[in-house]
Amino acid sequence: MSSDASLDGTASETPKQRSVRSGHSKLAAADRRFGLLLAIPATFIVLLLVGGPSLQTIVYSFEKVSFIGPTPFVGLDNYVRLLNSDEFKDSFRITTVYAAGFVLISTSLGLAFALLLNERFRGRGIARTLLIIPWAAPWLMVGIMWKWFIDADVGMFNGLLYQFGLIHDYVPFLANPSGALIVTIVAAAWRQASLSGLLFLAALQTIPPDLPEAATVDGASTLQRFRYVTLPWMRPVLMVVLVTNVIFGFLQFDVIYAMTQGGPGNSTTLLSILLYRQIFQFSNVGIGSAIAVVLGLVAFTVGLVFVKFLYRSESVYGRAVE
């Protein structure tokens, strides 16, 4: 078959070719329609169960909500009050620090787990099974467990540090604001690293063995193989992991509630804790809803930034990453 190049550089088609292409286009369109039809029930359920209440929350954020009287529309008043509130600003700063630490630790620790468990060693099967255990524990249980684990008087972590001669006296990690924030980040990130590790491990196992072998033959060091072979291959999974971790980082509640209830002082009062207090302790549903909207938007935006940053159109070793 031959075809002539047109002036604009595109090849001209014969009627038969156009007919074939048209047929395939119709087929593809039909497939897409069928796919959309299949997605309708799930979409409907999601909209009903998640979208509806979310919309309602957004509406509440513009109202002074009362359960027993009129609920007047107050425009941006709830948001203005938030922006003028030192408590909100502090909480926003703490939440940002918390989320950043959470994403960094859970992602890097998960990657380290995955790289380790991708190597051959005795007991690898058991180690891989153990990786799922933190993820199987509810967030609240993780918080309770870590609270005892790092306790300044009876905690096992302090015991270990002491036994190894790393400390001379037990350290009260939850006693000061900075320590409490760091410990709660680590506790939550420990659980999330389990999921990150599983996802990374799954991605590592899809790398064709000849790629790292070829890189080795070409003289690439371990670090170079990781930088130029492993990491590019895992970019799609890295994106999923990062987005998931960003969301969990910003929306974290249970671990903090179990370990510190937002204290000591306000040192671990994330926006999620502030939201909880506004709605359930102060009955300020409008303000609480505004915090929820801000928190949701922040998590959404940061997640999108990661998607935008990592979701580039390129091909790695003939494998489309997009």
Binding site: H24, S54, F280
Partner: protein, 466 residues
């Protein structure tokens, strides 16, 4: 049919485009969907259904077919709860459906369910929530219900304020009661040549001496944010400070003793006489410190003595005793207690039935026995607001050798106050602020004087709905 290269490339392009588009959209949707549950969770708190305010006072009179009652509690002695409900069902013929919610998050879960329109005929609640629940239309005013006044009259006189409001509503029935007391290690004191402390200054001085003698954290108390308000009551009642006037306005800031209490509170923490993690510690851990001898004084509910003495292999558990007063100017303490309330969804006979069950559960059963309270006493040595309860042989036996019953009874009867303002509709807002203020002071972010002034302002703002 065989495709040529261009056709194949086109189809691949189509598929690639679809895949790219799909993945992009899926990724965006994924981010969005994952952040939606937060909004949804928030929204769940408030239903679109128009709430109805509870009638100001509605004595049940209507009859009709029985329906299954919905009973909700937290997870303490679930088998006992089932047994009590089954016993009542056996007598009344009315089935009861029990829902148990974990203690952590109980309040928010209950609020969410009630505001969402769920029918809960009887539910456990925290006292500082009760006024708010009535005001929001989630809990029934029980004034006028047959026997409600008799139930109140059966209580220690000062305990009645917990279940009523100044304007005459009866908003709850008892679930259990306790008094804050000082538990102390008599061996530690004896070795240091000390007698049990009688004032806050004694507590400070003795703690200093005990620390010098090697006791790691002489004084422990459950000072997490949520409990600071209970301790505020303990310490101010002990010093004889009046917290609220008859109209519910805060007057504690006008009394100079309040500032002195806060200065003592700060000194205990700042001078290292408590454990440094006390702002986040668990009460069981603190009990463990008493059992191991790492602490000498523990202020919390009286039943923690049993918890300490039940610790396995705790070397000092038998040396821990209870002082039937709070070291303070008056020696009086704070009597706390949680309650049961009636939901507002019931109509006709179900209201009658719910009230009948409430009386059996929160007062006496048909045989005239404080049956639920006795079971809590047997399980954990919890108290009740009824004088006759403490004279019951079964209760005395349940409290065993841990307590001097006449002395404990006297604390409930004469040595404690319930701080009636806690059942006000606005109180929970103030309660939440106390933890913020006290923690800020203990962490050096505010002076005692500023803390007192701030709390008074918080109380006024909460009362005024600001």
């Amino acid at each position: 049919m065989v495709m040529d290269e261009r056709e194949l490339a086109h189809v691949k392009a189509e598929l690639d485009w679809s895949r790219r588009k799909f993945l992009k959209r899926a990724a965006a949707l994924g981010v969005g969907a994952a952040s939606l549950p937060l909004l949804a969770a928030c929204s769940n708190n408030a239903s679109t259904s128009a709430p109805t305010k509870a009638p100001a006072s509605a004595a049940p009179t209507a009859a009709g077919p029985a329906r299954t009652l919905e009973f909700q509690g937290w997870e303490f002695q679930p088998e006992d709860i089932k047994a009590h409900l089954a016993a009542w069902t056996k007598e009344s013929g009315v089935p009861v459906n029990l829902s148990l919610i974990p203690n952590v998050g109980y309040g928010p879960a209950t609020q969410t369910k009630l505001q969402g329109g769920a029918t809960i005929d009887i539910f456990y609640n925290l006292t500082y929530n009760t006024g708010k629940f009535v005001e929001q239309g989630w809990a029934h005013d029980l004034k006028g219900f047959p026997g409600a006044d008799d139930m109140l009259n059966d209580m220690f006189p000062q305990a009645r304020a917990r279940y009523t409001t100044p304007d005459g509503k009866i908003i709850s029935a008892p679930y259990f009661n306790a008094v804050h007391t000082l538990m102390y290690n008599k061996s530690h004191l004896s070795k240091a040549g000390l007698q049990p402390p009688q004032s806050l200054q004694d507590v400070y001085d003795q703690s200093k001496k005990l620390k010098a003698n090697g006791v790691k954290t002489p004084y422990v108390a459950y000072w997490i944010k949520d409990f600071c308000e209970e301790y505020l009551n303990v310490y101010l009642i002990g010093e004889g400070v009046k917290m609220w006037d008859d109209s519910g306005n805060p007057v504690f800031a006008d009394d100079p003793k309040t500032k002195a209490v806060f200065e003592w509170w700060l000194a205990m923490f700042k001078d290292g006489l408590t454990t440094p993690t006390m702002l986040t510690d668990d009460p069981i851990k603190l009990a463990t410190l008493m059992g191991t001898g790492e602490a000498s004084f523990y202020v919390l509910h009286h039943y923690f003595l049993k918890i300490i003495r039940d610790l396995k292999d705790a070397p000092e558990k038998d040396n821990v005793d209870i002082l039937y007063r709070i070291p303070s100017a008056t020696g009086k303490t704070f009597q706390m207690g949680e309650v049961i309330q009636m939901g507002t969804k019931g109509e006709g006979r179900s209201v009658d039935d719910a009230w009948s069950l409430m009386k059996a559960y929160g007062w006496k059963n048909s045989a005239g026995q404080y049956s639920t309270f006795k079971s809590w006493a047997k399980a954990a040595q919890l108290g009740a607001p009824y004088p006759a309860f403490f004279a019951d042989p079964e209760v005395i036996a349940a409290f065993g050798t841990n307590y001097d019953m006449p002395k404990l009874t006297d604390v409930f009867a004469n040595g404690s106050d319930v701080q009636g303002g806690r059942s006000a509709a606005w109180y929970q807002t103030f309660q939440a602020k106390v933890g913020d203020r006290v923690h800020a002071m203990l962490l050096g972010q505010a002076s005692p004087a500023d803390t007192v002034a701030g709390l008074a302002a918080d109380a006024k703002a909460a009362k005024g709905g600001i």
